[in-house]
């Protein structure tokens, strides 16, 4: 986690020092690899990330299912600092077909 990212994200959030400046990076670079749309997100916090921390993200798909005719996937991603400390655990459910949302949100 570099200082520039922390400062930019802190400014965006309107705080002196952001607690989880790694969150957006994780979402963008790890989970936004396929065209999906957010349905649900659960995040557990264990240790704030600091500038200079080197972290490893590891994740897997833990569920694939169809609900009300829509295809969903649930991912779980954990962030660990280089000393092994668990920083956070993210569980995110996405709809695999954006068309389902586009058809539903016709007001957009």
């Amino acid at each position: 986690m570099d200082q520039e990212t922390v400062e930019r994200y802190s400014k965006l959030m309107g705080v002196e020092t952001a607690i989880y400046a790694n969150m957006p990076a994780r979402i963008a670079d790890v989970l936004r690899t396929t065209p999906t749309a957010n349905a649900r997100m659960m995040l557990e916090l264990f240790e704030p990330i600091r500038a200079g921390d080197i972290c490893t993200l590891s994740g897997s798909v833990i569920a694939l299912y169809v609900r009300r005719g829509k295809p969903y996937a649930t991912y779980q991603v954990e962030t660990r600092r280089s000393d092994g400390v668990l920083m956070d655990r993210l569980r995110k459910t996405v709809i695999l077909s954006r068309k389902e949302l586009a058809d539903k949100w016709t007001f957009l």
């Binding site: 990212t5 930019r8 994200y9 965006l12 959030m13 309107g14 705080v15 952001a18 607690i19 989880y20 969150m23 957006p24 990076a25 979402i27 963008a28 670079d29 936004r32 065209p35 957010n38 349905a39 649900r40 997100m41 659960m42 995040l43 557990e44 916090l45 264990f46 240790e47 704030p48 954006r98 068309k99 949302l101 586009a102 058809d103 949100w105 957009l108």
Partner: protein
């Protein structure tokens, strides 16, 4: 762990915090720029249309980000930053120009060792009262 708030000072039904977010086009764009260099349906009209949407809209994760950074750390301190959780289902999209009230109301107090787990209902609503998420959050308070 530094727990600044005493659980005895918190009551079920109490609103512990609220925070207003102005989802300006600049704010949405700033968030997307911070998280990705790629164009997507949150920051590009063309990408939005390709996905079947008439216009871009804010990422639901922005609500989670504001919950983490703005709504609860000032109340719970490390009871949030080192033991907090947030769980949100995204109900409706947030369009540029929206003014959203993010709030946390206590729904349960559960013993956790010598301390207390404070469980909150998390809401995000437009001025019309329309809810944008169904969510919850939890943090640890002293005692």
């Amino acid at each position: 762990v530094d727990l600044p708030v005493d659980a005895k000072s918190l009551a079920i039904g109490q609103r512990v915090s609220e925070y207003t977010i102005n989802y300006s086009a600049d704010h949405i764009q700033g968030y997307e720029t911070a998280i990705s260099t790629r164009e997507n349906f949150h920051n590009s009209s063309e990408k939005a249309r390709e996905s079947g949407f008439a216009q871009p809209f804010a990422s639901g994760t922005m609500i989670v980000a504001h919950t983490i950074e703005n709504l609860l750390p000032g109340i719970f301190g490390e009871g949030w930053t080192k033991a907090g959780s947030v769980n949100a289902a995204f109900i409706r999209p947030i369009l540029a120009g929206s003014r959203v009230l993010l709030a946390a109301d206590i729904v349960a107090k559960l013993p956790r060792g010598d301390d207390t787990l404070i469980v909150m209902q998390l809401s995000a609503s437009l001025p019309s009262g329309e809810q944008l998420i169904a969510g919850s959050a939890s943090a640890i308070a002293r005692g």
